[in-house]
Symmetry: C2
DNA sequence: TACGATATGTCTCTTTAGAGACATGTCTCA
DNA sequence: TGAGACATGTCTCTAAAGAGACATATCGTA
């Protein structure tokens, strides 16, 4: 079905806007209070790209190179499936939004 | 934060009504189309009880013994935290329920 | 009485995930 | 020039998870 929570969080963050690793770590902390170790994230990003869920381009910003990721249609499928699942669960739990 | 998807599904199913292992497997398939192997579920249920998220009682039904699980307040905390997280994600994704 | 469904459990093997260290390099500002 | 933020990567060790078999026992029905 899905992957795990971390994979999904990364896919969802990147889906909202193209992001690079360092920023993903910042966002996860700021938006969700979740700390992601970079030693876990960078290999994960490379895996997600290798498996076709994300694609990257390198961008030089003031001499520092960022590897910016965007979601692919294959990645969007995962996110959409997850969103449907969320909706189902929300309805099941009777939560009002 | 949380545990994994399987743990949460089990906690949420048991929270809806007291259930035993065999029925959880049936429900997961009927309600979500997800197959749970019994070799994974029974140890998990025992762990969740040992850690205080669930409590069980044995009930004899027509000579067959069922181990019926109920959620504890500690288990409810996990479910509620997860529901808040769901709500957050739903709002973030702009999904209408 | 044999089969399929109900019901719960363990065990081993393999794969995957996680913690944390090792490694490198730039930029900005004090 | 030194500290802290920015930026990305690998590696090893350990812990956890998953697949699938082994194991047992009852009930209902054909």
């Amino acid at each position: 079905m899905f992957r795990n929570f971390l994979d999904l969080m990364v896919l969802r963050l990147v889906q909202q806007e193209p992001l690079w690793g360092y920023k993903i770590i910042k966002y996860a902390m700021e938006k969700h209070g979740i700390s992601i170790r970079h030693g876990a994230l960078y290999p994960l990003l490379n895996n997600l790209e290798r498996e076709g869920y994300l694609k990257s381009r390198k961008e030089a910003m003031n001499g520092r190179v960022r590897k910016i990721y965007e979601i692919t249609s294959k990645g969007m499928k995962i996110v959409n499936t997850y969103n449907d699942y969320l909706k189902e669960q929300i309805e099941e739990a009777g939560i009002k939004t």
